[in-house]
């Protein structure tokens, strides 16, 4: 029984690791142009998602969002990718 218990513990550990890694590996692809709300205006910011993000979102408000922009279209609530909105204040 003792051996069985050790196996279950290790199994749970492996399952936890697997779920965490597969969860991050199967995240949906990043689409749209990244903008930050600076002084109430959606402003284009460098999209360095793959190299590591160098901004933070603190406290409340709208921080960053991605927009599906066609040509010279301005970012607005209509072309925002809803799931991309991050809460907070851009810093």
């Amino acid at each position: 029984m003792k051996t069985l218990k050790i196996n279950f513990s290790v199994l749970a550990l492996i399952l936890g690791l697997t779920l965490a890694f597969t969860g991050s590996a199967f995240k949906p692809a990043v689409v749209g142009d990244l903008h930050a709300k600076i002084s109430g205006v959606w402003t284009d910011i460098p999209d360095n998602y793959t190299q590591g993000v160098d901004y933070t979102c603190v406290e409340s408000g709208q921080c960053t969002a991605r927009f599906d922009l066609q040509g010279s279209e301005a970012p607005s609530d209509e072309n925002m990718i809803p799931s991309s909105l991050e809460d907070g204040t851009y810093q």
Binding site: M1, K2, L4, K5, F8, S9, V10, L11, A12, L13, L15, G16, L17, L19, A20, F21, G23, S24, K27, G52, V53, Y55, T56, C57, V58, E59, S60, C63, E86, D87, G88
Partner: protein, 145 residues
């Protein structure tokens, strides 16, 4: 208590807690930048948030490690209970508008859960961890009956 039922209960609770803490810690560390932003968005003092960015996943991993070994299992189960109660108190404070604003619920164990869902999720695990502590501390008595 039946010895086999006791062992199965304890093993199940222990395994679920290991799964919970490993998943919670590794998912934060594997996407560090996002989890850092989510932590800095929380309604806590900024100096504390900076500590918790690393502190939370490290203590979660430490708890999982304690749960892995027989000698430290009771401490791991007790630490699990303390952590879960702390997280649940934090959620309670948010829901009762103790803080100036309601932060995103993204920094929790499962990012997509709302605060209410997190609350229920934590309560279930508090019951499990409390049961684990009771079973572990009364191991001798329960298995001999």
């Amino acid at each position: 208590m039946n010895g086999k039922f006791f062992q199965i209960s304890l093993t199940s609770i222990n395994s679920l807690l290991i799964l919970l803490w490993t998943y919670a810690a590794v998912s934060k560390l594997s996407d560090y930048q996002t989890s850092r932003r989510e932590m800095l968005n929380q309604a806590l003092p900024s100096w504390l948030e900076e500590i918790l960015v690393w502190g939370v996943p490290l203590i979660e991993l430490f708890t999982a490690a304690l749960l892995l070994f027989g000698k430290s299992r009771l401490y791991g189960t007790f630490l699990s209970l303390c952590l879960l109660i702390s997280f649940t108190i934090y959620i309670g404070l948010i829901k009762f508008n103790y803080f100036d604003y309601i932060p995103c619920s993204c920094g929790g164990v499962i990012g997509s859960l709302s605060w209410e869902q997190h609350f229920v999720f934590n309560l279930i695990f508090i019951v499990l961890a409390a049961t684990g502590v009771i079973l572990e501390t009364n191991r001798g008595e329960l298995t001999s009956n």
